[in-house]
Amino acid sequence: MDGFAMGDYGAYVWSCVALTFVIVVFSDWRARLRHKRVYRDIEVRLKALEDRE
């Protein structure tokens, strides 16, 4: 388990790796969310348009 501890620096190194992970995942999650929302908005509008016709 010495590899994980990295002397005294383990906390710094691992927090950087974790932060990278969090930011990439968060950014991608936001992107997916927005895509879904845009998609659904268009869908709702099109459905409403169809119903009117």
């Binding site: 590899g3 002397g7 620096y9 927090s15 968060f26 927005r34 509008r45």
Partner: protein, 248 residues
Amino acid sequence: MWKWFHQLASPPHFYRIAEILSPWLAIPGLVLIAYGLWQGLFVVPMDYQQGDAFRIIYVHVPAAYLSLMAYMIMATAGAVGLIWRIKLAHAVAAAAAPIGAAFTFLALATGSIWGRPMWGTWWEWGDPRMMSELILLFLYFGYMALRGAIDDTAKADKASAVLALVGIVNVVIVHFSVEWWSSLHQGQTVFKKGTMDAEMRIPLLIMLIGFTLLFGSMLLRRIRTEVLYRERRTRWVREMILATGDGT
């Protein structure tokens, strides 16, 4: 060649190709990152000066590199959109900004965490690279704020492209002026470039390639959303959505 390019730049084509391409970038990217991380964190011997703290560069350097690359893409795409009036280019610029800002923030955060054991402070005002990176983050904020403030998409595209182009000239000037400035105030040891052993360099290279691929995939996903939003009133979107029913 030209015809192929033209076809790619047509929104429906791009939308479909990006959907297929996105995982093909993400998966190899993630594999490379996993391998590079394992190499960088466990296999490579520690630096005799910095100890194990140097391992932070395996995430810090790719983040810093992508923060600049995203800006270049944003500005180039903006210029292409302004000059040749290619609408897809503006979508690319709009998509690149938030990712670039995220990586800039990441570069700053990891740099700061690295600085804590190395310099003894979380923030070193005297380091030119951290200052440049901070100003870059402000430029991203300004860019996104300008986009957000203009309701008309076409107008927002053009105005923010002008800003990005002015900004890119400035990034260079910022770099040099900050370097000059820090040379006046230098007390502490700054992030030394030094020479790096091939042993250490190869995992870094792998990480860089891996992150670039991942970035490409993230960018494609955001461009798709932009394209979908911008083309929401066109026939192909209408047909596509009515045909697929639900789901994304």
